[in-house]
Amino acid sequence: MPLETLEQILARAGAAVPGAQLSLVKNDSPCAQHSLAVDVEHAYAVAQFLRDDPQLRLDYCSNVTGVDYLDAELSEKVKVKKLVDGVEKEVEEVKKTQRAGYLEAVYHLYSMALKHGPVILRQRTPGRADPVRVTSLTPLWRSAEFQEREVFDLYGVLFDGHPDLRRILMWDGFKDYPMRKDYVEPDDYEYEPTPHDEVLARAKAHQAAQEVGA
């Protein structure tokens, strides 16, 4: 696919949209689909650049994925030079960092005109506390309309500038966001006689809660 490297795209997009905070997100899997992370404020301008630039012409937004990352402790092995018994040696140390959780909307962009892609664009929210906001790209690509609605429905990410942000798959009165990693199912459990211990335990707990409630 005759597509410039992601570093080049990043440099040109950064030049075209002053103030945009762009960074490269590495992907370690064998397919090496690296992606561009962009800050929420400049996402629209960067996306517009990607769509309208004559070399890129990413006129087709294939896929919008919502992802939830919880607060996590990341541990990575770092080689550190240390004095061991008076001799300087390289020692592997486990470095632990706290990562604040965030939600993410990932856009897979292709070009139907030039038949290349994907360029992957990520918008990350600063944190997980509601309300989480990102910029809607539906005005640029209609195909994002239902998919952003779905991300809103299942993850609770608000898309600023979306023309019709309603629940799409869950019903209107539904409260929670079921795809979040910390989602807890409501206790509306219906007992069905399967032999699993856990099912029976759950049914028992549910019945006990009902009795207390009544």
């Binding site: 069905e192 006689p193 399967t194 032999p195 699993h196």
Partner: protein, 228 residues
């Protein structure tokens, strides 16, 4: 001319209508349940457990390793392991399932349990007429209902069963060869041989007894070696 397309179409339906009286290509349905289409060899409906002996419960190949229970995508299998052990088809002491239930109302016939089973003990049946008046209990089948003989398996999936039998025969041959070697070793020096047998037993796959495998007496029965 307007209407030719419609007339052409009517001609086609007329051909089909006339053909449906004599042409087998136009007559594709059968009168179920009086007539039936033979089941395909690969066809699968719901799982069953294979047994080798007259008494289905004694000859179950299942060793209650619970791999299928873990891998089953809709979690429709439920197994309780036995406390004691009994000899399997090659004379090795193994656990057996005290309870083996499959909830057919949950099962989605995906065959993953069959693929992951290392003991050739769960296979797919071709029985599909399972309608029942009891919505829950009627489709929750236990190991007595699930157990079917190897002959049944050979009948419904001949080539697959042949491959399965061959694989088991290889296992049996291996076990016999090992048993023979063990006996010879025993004859050499009793104390040393015992230690060796222990080592060999420790190297056998999942569920094997860590103590002496008792290879010379495969018919010891289930009560022979109570588990700790």
């Amino acid at each position: 001319m307007l209407g030719t397309g419609i007339l052409k179409g009517m001609l086609e339906t007329a051909k089909n209508f006339a053909g449906s009286y004599h042409d087998p290509a136009r007559l594709t349905t059968v009168e179920y349940p009086e007539q039936r289409i033979a089941s395909k060899e690969n066809a699968r409906q719901f799982p069953f457990l294979v047994h080798d002996t007259e008494d289905p419960m004694k000859g179950l190949r299942c060793v209650a390793c619970q791999i299928c229970e873990k891998e089953c995508p809709p979690q429709c299998i439920y197994i309780v392991k036995s406390k004691d052990k009994r000899a399997d088809y090659k004379g090795q002491m193994q656990l057996y399932p005290v309870t083996f239930d499959i909830d057919l109302s949950v099962c989605m016939s995906c065959q993953i349990c069959v693929e992951v089973c290392p003991f050739e003990s769960i296979k797919m049946d071709t029985e599909f007429e399972l309608s029942n008046t009891d919505r829950f209990g009627g489709l929750l089948v236990n190991k007595h209902q699930l157990a079917k003989s190897n002959d049944h398996y050979r009948k419904i999936h001949p080539s697959e069963a042949a491959a399965s039998d061959a694989a088991l025969a290889v296992e049996v041959a291996k076990a016999q060869a090992k048993a023979k070697a063990d006996v010879e070793a025993k004859a050499k020096a009793a104390a040393e041989a015992k230690a060796k047998a222990d080592a060999a037993a420790a190297a056998t796959p999942v569920g094997a007894v860590p103590s002496a495998p008792q290879p010379s007496s495969p018919a010891t029965g289930p009560a022979a070696a109570p588990a700790a």
